[in-house]
Subunit: 422 residues, 2 copies
């Protein structure tokens, strides 16, 4: 028989040095932006500082339902001897701008949001008054400005509202809309193409065309989208160098970076590194890292775009995803915030680590108000292990963690918050 | 002039009693479900327990690139005296099912994911071997099962995988897909119609048709969608009882519940409670709660569907939203998880509260690894105050909180996690 053409991995890299090298290679990128309607901006990242172009409110208005008066006239008011005002008009929010004035002894009915009439210095709530025909009685001294939101109280023209890199929340959209903005300039979502290998998936597709053969790609796509990027599943590459090269080349055209799953190890049919090398300089930068699981992870650069090469085994694939793809999404997103929620916890059992970094899957939970990180590794990092996990810890080489010692847990994404807090 | 037709609020309700009453009124609802493609299930809530219908893997396979052998033959192997095997074949993942066998003195090359050939009891990694023409040397004793994932190791047929009420994450979709599922049965997203009042918004629309007049509805819609419901902005109701009634009636047809913003207080043009009463029994259940801000919040029930009446002032509107609308979304979502992330923190200043519950807006931040809740109330709960906040605390009546005492903060939603952790 033919001798299998076994290749050996290059010297394995320190995972964090490799990660730094990757991020450095893309750090000079100018991030793409787009201007989109505010209604579509929820969760998107602002690409420039937002300043107020108006005073808000743009006139003195009331935030109560009641009467606008001159508060000087209530100086002597008390329950036994109320001050009476003649009601001479009504103002509603719709009535701005108004020429109505309040004179001595007069009150104007104002509905919440209405403009303050000229001559009024305060408002008094309906609930604090008594009505007699067309007069209204006030039973206490009303202070200047009561119930009034003065011009510019909320926002002054020129004031900085939100910083570049901020993730837009509902209230942010509200304040931008109140400034008559209808669109915002945000960073484009990073476009991430995902390609899975190889022939066994294609065979599954033939056997059962309705089923989802590349379910690991589904997982990676979900993780990618939860971190704020736009994943695109590009299908399955067969175990053939020409086809692998072609698929990677096509995917590169329409994405910020590519993730391949499988086909990048030292096996006979592992064509991804060869394809990446064939497509352009520098090609493969890192193949293999001192990480367990995930040792086969690596990346290359083709035409300035990263190709993240993830192992085909799910536990290793997830480890490689968080080592290379997740920080890359962060770099392309323009966000000021950390890519992953990090929570300090106590480890629930002793963990002893060998000469490599260890990607330790954990289930983080709260017990008596404290966070406990429970290692979840069952067999060989199967999909159910990931289902039983909500995050991971990176254990440095030659480390012995005693039960109850501190460990930083990175949650997979914000979806995992749902069942942790509270 | 005409005497303004001022109405008075009914006796104000305890906010939590009112909330309980609302949730009790809808607790008998049968939640609607739908069967949708797995690709669309991210973040959706499973509506029935999911069991494994297969053994995964469905046959013994390897998770390494290497050689399948009978490990008995390596008992004496050591670096000085390796055991040699004749390579008699290759197996790839695509080769399942296989009839290939390993006999004494033989090894089969196996690629990661390949089936284990008959006669093999373990696998040894390429990296741990040396190749000579068509033989391969092994330098240590290999243990039974090394590198093998046995049949059913990941999932046993009939095993419970995910519980009803679980929010589907990327890895959950992966495991369901690995069971050849293509769809999942999930709860329908609660449909929430949002109507804002009144004439001043319509006037703004006329003055500046391009701008977003009802920006508070935009905020409420965003909060609603971040909690997992599907908001529908129904536009602006004018200050006219017939129109208000008609808009609420129409919205009721196509939603699980309605949120109105404004028009529900004691002002002359506050027609929402009248409309709700006119539309059916019991009509308004609660109008006014002992809550500051948010006192004007209330709800009614029309044809068994809730109408949440929120105040028109933004701070009060948000308070009413979290008192009534947020728990209602939780009830309609079918999720097992808490509606809001709750974080225990230290309060950054003294807080003294009067006879009502206080909806205290705060900015939660981490300082030296501890959570600090900083009250954000500036003026009169303006939109910028909400922008400066990421959550709230509910302070009971007649409570005096000293600086640095404990307080539970509810984050507005998971988007707020972004800038808190880490």
């Amino acid at each position: 028989m033919n001798r299998p053409d076994i290749r050996r991995l290059p010297k394995r890299a320190d995972p964090y040095q490799a990660q730094d090298a990757l991020l450095k290679l893309v750090s000079q990128k100018t991030l793409k932006t787009e201007k989109i309607p505010l209604e579509e901006c929820l969760g998107r990242v602002l690409s420039k500082d937002a300043f107020s172009n108006l005073n808000i409110p743009s006139y003195d208005k009331t935030f109560i339902d009641g009467y606008a008066i001159n508060n000087e006239e209530t100086k002597t008011a008390n329950p036994a001897k109320p001050t009476a005002f003649e009601i001479t008009g009504k103002l509603f929010p719709v009535d701005y701008p108004t020429i109505i004035e309040v004179h001595k002894g007069e009150a104007i009915y104002v509905a919440c949001g209405a403009p303050i009439p000229k001559g009024a210095t305060a408002t008094v709530k309906v609930e604090e008054t008594r009505l007699h025909e067309s007069t209204v009685e006030v039973f206490r001294e009303i202070h200047t400005g009561e119930g009034i939101i003065p011009l510019g109280d909320d926002l002054r023209k020129g004031q900085l509202i939100l910083r570049k890199g901020h993730t837009l929340r509902p209230q942010d959209l509200g304040v931008l809309a109140s400034l008559k903005m209808t669109c915002a300039e945000v960073y484009k979502k990073p476009l991430v193409s995902i390609i899975s290998g190889g022939d066994e998936l294609l065979k599954q597709c033939q056997t059962n065309p309705a089923a989802i053969a590349n379910n690991y790609a589904l997982v990676v796509a979900g993780l990618t989208s939860e971190l704020g990027a736009a994943p695109k599943q590009m299908g399955i590459m067969p175990d053939a160098i020409e086809k692998v090269t072609e698929m990677i080349a096509n995917a590169l055209e329409n994405s910020d970076f590519i993730i391949t799953i499988g086909g990048s190890s030292v096996g006979i049919k592992d064509f991804v590194p060869d394809a990446v090398n064939a497509l352009g300089k520098p090609g493969v930068v890192t193949q293999g890292v001192l990480l367990r699981p995930g040792a086969i992870s690596g990346f290359g650069i083709v035409n300035g775009k990263p190709v993240i090469m993830l192992p085909g085994h799910i536990g290793s694939c997830i480890a490689g995803f968080y080592l290379f793809a997740a920080p890359l999404i962060g770099a392309f997103s323009g966000s000021n915030a950390a890519v992953l929620p990090k929570i300090n916890a106590k480890i629930s059992e002793d963990v002893k680590n060998g000469p490599q970094f260890r990607f330790l899957l954990v289930h983080l939970k709260r017990e008596n108000g404290k966070f406990l990180a429970q290692p979840t590794e069952g067999g060989s990092s199967a999909l159910t292990t990931i289902v039983n996990s909500n995050g991971y810890a990176m254990i440095p080489p030659h480390t012995e963690l005693k039960k109850n010692s501190d460990v930083d847990v990175f949650l997979f994404n914000k979806l995992e918050m749902t069942e942790i807090l509270p």
